[in-house]
């Protein structure tokens, strides 16, 4: 079937098998490999992207379901490695990543959280990230990064 998705502002159209997962559409068709696959049970969140502005696990969404919709991946958050989005910047400043595999999903989940709740408490951050697994950081610096990004964005 033909699927057309607006990915990071640009249109990507392709003939794909009906069962194509959105994550594979992004990786194999759109050529955006930052979004990773970390499990096969929707447990780990490594594949988290924004679909029409809300976070989804792209391993559990068919490409067909994204037809005609907007997808944002971590590649679409900033114009390049020099100008980071505030959440990316906070992850860097607070050492919120180690191996980097969960990071794109973790950043997108954090962006989604802050869009819904610009001033979360530590407990709210932990709760919002429950569906995103990290095996390296113990979450300590990820939580600090999200809180730092929130206070950075809060008008003083």
């Amino acid at each position: 079937m033909k699927v057309t998705v607006t990915v990071n502002g640009g249109e990507v159209a392709a003939e794909v098998a009906d069962r194509t997962l959105l994550v594979h559409f992004l990786r194999d068709v759109a050529g955006l490999t930052a979004t990773n696959v970390g499990c096969d049970t929707s447990s780990c969140g490594a594949c988290t992207v924004l679909l029409d502005g809300r976070s989804v696990k792209s391993c559990t969404v068919l490409a067909a379901q994204a037809d005609g919709r907007q997808v944002t991946t971590v590649e679409g958050l900033s114009s390049g490695s020099e100008e980071l989005h505030p959440v990316q910047q906070a992850f860097r400043a607070e050492h919120g990543l180690q191996c980097g595999f969960c990071t794109p999903g973790m950043v997108m989940a954090s962006v989604s959280l802050l869009a819904e709740n610009p001033s979360p408490t530590e407990d709210e951050v932990r709760s919002a990230l429950e569906g995103n697994l990290c095996r390296c950081t113990g979450y300590h610096n990820i939580v600090r990064a999200v809180l730092a990004a929130a206070s950075e964005r809060r008008p003083s």
Binding site: E75, L84, H95, Q98, C99, C136, G138, I142, V143
Partner: protein, 760 residues
């Protein structure tokens, strides 16, 4: 300090194996493994004809196709001495594809090669394997019973049996003696990136891209398994999404991908699913221990015995080596006159065991830290006081422990005191007493674990570094060490800047490519900084001395009068800063010959980091649910190069340690079927189950290397696991509970509480 790695990882993502878009892999086909669904069976037939006809299928391969490989390794001649090389070979050899018998659920039986990934999943379903089921050997009890054998020609499921016979006389002088059976459960490492490989055979050369902690070791294993000259193999480790010991070298699955690419003459890619990863990547821990501890009523421990049965799973990979390390570190940080250890390594119908963050040392610490708490409870003394009495005093270093390890440097008592003060130990005990008195549903537990561990245990294996300074003032580091999250690129750049004054931003760090770095060992055993870092520091010093000679010539000054201004990265004549030259000019002056140094550092010695962890848990006495609410630690790993990176290592290790104590376990049923084979069933710890951690600083320099560094990678799992376990048991100790095995799930804790209340 921010990491040099991060802008890329945060914006376009890392390049893990499955992200590779190299032209050589443009036409690569996909590998899908067909794995055994049965724990123990004879293979009586494999029919691949239907699979071969399925859409997109390029090839279907089984053991019958392995006709172009060297014979398996000979018997290692194992007789039961310590520290043996693993795998064992001979009777115990592990094939690539299962030949006529499968020994664990997840063992590779066949491989389907297709044009795309979904076709592979379909075609794999069509491979028909006839199995004649055999009784499964489940757990150490099943292995020792010996009613069913994994390797009938060996005549036993016990591959190794060694150690000191029990000497009951050693406990004769004790006022109190306690014995306890302890299960250190089987865990899945679960790096977020599973195993992955891509391979291409062209012009007589094999290239393997693989998610590994050690490209060079992977090449060595590959050369042996495929019968190739290492010179005709290039192994590349691109970004690696976590390893935790389970990506040391390369597994049979990765070897098969490499072999198949050569066998069928087409580039191949493989990235396992998480469900495959849970079954077929190695597991860790899996020891049954018996501890016996005795001492005086005033708290002096006189004798300790640790007996281990190591379940090494279906094949003897590194699992056989782990109890050697556990035995070596059995005495922990304590000055105990008499220590005995003994262990057996047994085969079971389960996933092979190998290194997992700590690899044998967390098991040693878990055993003695439980034993110390049991002994303290028996004599009615505060467990932290028992620790203080028995910790090796600061004036006794270097100190050779009762189990035979020689600890280099330490301030064990100071570390304990720092944690107790930092946590407010007295106040915590007061709060605990208050809750006990009021019968609060949420009881408070305070658990402490002191530890010493061995890092860079194989220091004599060395590590390599090559440093080149270029005529544009930049530098390139080629390191044999291997990054998979630790921050090598940042740390190595820091070392170059500190030594040469070349700004970190101008230092490129290259690792994990055997064409560029033929010699190297890689990353495990917390060895990177103390071996790879020292190798680089030595290379930088060599480059500096070369630079001094060249700069002296250029500035027409004597070498003795030259100094390097490391703030500016400029050579200058002492007292005359105007007469100076830059690294770029020095490198340009040298020209083609290059300003470079190669070091293979083999003079390192193992180091012994130490520390104390204190965990505070709340246990709901109505549901058995334990929640960690505080975690306070001292982890002394000698001189710290980067506090940020070192703390990151501690955070991650603590989380994994807490996870073992409270949540994680690979469980098999009576037929050897894994029942925790996905991330839905296997309880990886999440952000909601952890507090922020309270890390206290302590630096007691190592004396065996010039950086003063010890390893920090595994401290977290070593300290946090028993501290958390002790804390949960402490929360319910007033009910008469002395021990609960990990993981301390609500069901287990609730059962222990119920039993204790009934027996009162």
């Amino acid at each position: 300090m921010v990491r040099t790695e991060d802008p890329r990882l945060l914006t376009v993502g890392g390049t893990y194996v499955d992200d590779l878009r190299e032209p050589e892999l443009a036409q690569a086909a996909r590998v899908t493994f067909v794995r055994s669904p049965i724990a123990h069976a004879l293979i009586t037939g494999i029919d691949v004809s239907a699979a071969r006809e399925a859409p997109g299928v390029v090839a279907v391969l089984t053991a019958a196709d392995l006709d172009d490989l060297p014979p398996p390794p000979p018997d290692s001649g194992l007789t039961g001495t310590e520290g043996l090389p693993f795998p064992l070979g001979g009777h115990w050899s592990e094939p690539l594809f299962a030949v006529d018998r499968v020994r664990f659920v997840g063992e590779p039986v066949a491989m389907v090669i297709t044009d795309d990934r979904y076709q592979g999943e379909d075609a794999a379903e069509l491979v028909s394997v006839d199995y004649e089921q055999l009784p499964a050997v489940v757990g150490v009890a099943g292995a020792l019973a010996g009613e069913s054998l994994l390797f009938p020609p060996a005549g036993s499921n016990v591959a190794v049996s060694t150690g000191t016979p029990a000497d009951s006389a050693a406990f004769d002088g004790c006022d109190a003696v306690v014995e306890q059976v302890i299960v250190n459960q089987r865990l899945a490492p679960v790096p977020l990136e599973g195993r992955a490989a891509a391979a291409r055979w062209a012009d007589g050369k094999l290239t393997l891209w693989v998610s590994t902690q050690n490209a060079q070791i992977a090449r060595f294993i590959l050369a042996g398994a495929l019968g190739l000259d290492p010179a005709n193999i290039r192994v590349v480790a691109p970004d690696v999404g976590g390893g935790f010991g389970a990506k040391i070298g390369v597994d049979r699955d990765g070897l098969l991908v490499a072999w198949a690419a050569k066998h069928i003459g087409r580039a191949l890619r493989w990235a396992e699913t998480r469900s495959e990863n849970m079954l077929a990547m190695t597991h860790g821990r899996a020891q049954r221990q018996v501890v016996k501890i005795g001492g005086t009523r005033d708290g002096r421990i006189l004798a300790y015995r640790l007996e281990i049965v190591q379940d090494t799973g279906a094949y003897s990979r590194m699992g056989g080596f782990l109890p050697f390390l556990t035995s070596l570190m059995a005495a922990g940080p304590y000055d105990i006159a008499h220590v005995e250890t003994a262990y057996q390594v047994v085969m079971t119908n389960a996933t092979p065991i190998s290194a997992y963050r700590g690899a044998g040392r967390p098991e040693a610490t878990a055993a003695i830290e439980r034993a110390v708490d049991l002994f303290a409870a028996e004599i009615g003394m505060d467990a932290t006081e028992v620790r203080r009495i028995n910790l090796v005093p600061a004036d006794k270093f270097p100190y050779t422990s009762g189990s035979g390890a020689t600890y280099d440097t330490g301030e064990y008592v100071a570390g304990l005191d720092k944690v107790l003060t930092g946590a407010g130990y007295a106040e915590l005990r007061a709060e605990q007493a208050r809750r006990r008195e009021t019968g609060d549903v949420l009881q408070l537990g305070i658990g402490v674990a002191s530890y010493v561990e061995i890092t860079a245990a194989d220091a004599d294996g060395g590590e390599t570094a090559r440093l080149v300074v270029h005529d544009d003032g930049t530098a390139t580091v080629y390191t044999g060490s291997s990054a998979h999250g630790q921050g090598h690129h940042t740390a190595w750049a820091m070392l170059v800047q500190a030594e040469l004054g070349i700004d970190m931003s101008k230092v490129t760090v290259i690792h994990g490519d055997t064409d560029l770095i033929p010699m190297g060992v890689g990353t495990y055993a917390s060895r990177s900084l103390q071996l790879g870092g020292v190798a680089l520091q030595k290379a930088a010093i060599e480059v500096k001395e070369l630079g001094r000679k060249v700069a002296a010539e250029m500035l027409e000054a004597s070498e003795a009068d030259l100094e390097l201004d490391v703030d500016r990265g400029v050579w200058q004549v002492r007292g005359d800063p105007a007469t100076s030259t830059t690294w770029a000019q020095v490198a340009a002056h040298v020209g083609e010959a290059g300003l470079a140094a190669d070091v293979n550092y083999t003079d390192g010695k193992p180091t012994f980091p130490f520390g104390t962890h204190l965990a505070v848990t709340e246990v709901d006495t109505e549901t058995g649910k334990a929640r960690l609410i505080r975690h306070v630690t001292v982890d002394d790993a000698g001189t710290v190069l980067s506090p940020v990176l070192a703390e990151g290592q501690r955070h991650g290790g603590i989380a994994q340690g807490v996870a073992q104590a409270l949540l994680e376990e690979m469980v098999y049923d009576a037929e050897g079927n894994p029942v925790t084979g996905t991330l839905v069933d296997y309880a990886i710890i999440t952000a909601t189950e952890l507090p922020s951690f309270e890390l206290l600083a302590s630096e007691t320099p190592a004396t065996v290397n010039p950086l003063g560094a010890k390893g920090i990678g595994e401290a977290g799992t070593i300290g946090a696991t028993p501290a958390t376990q002790n804390s949960v048991i402490d929360a319910v100790s007033h009910l008469g509970i002395r021990h609960i095995d990990m993981p301390l799930t609500p069901a287990r804790v609730w059962a222990a509480i119920s039993e204790a209340r009934e027996s009162r």
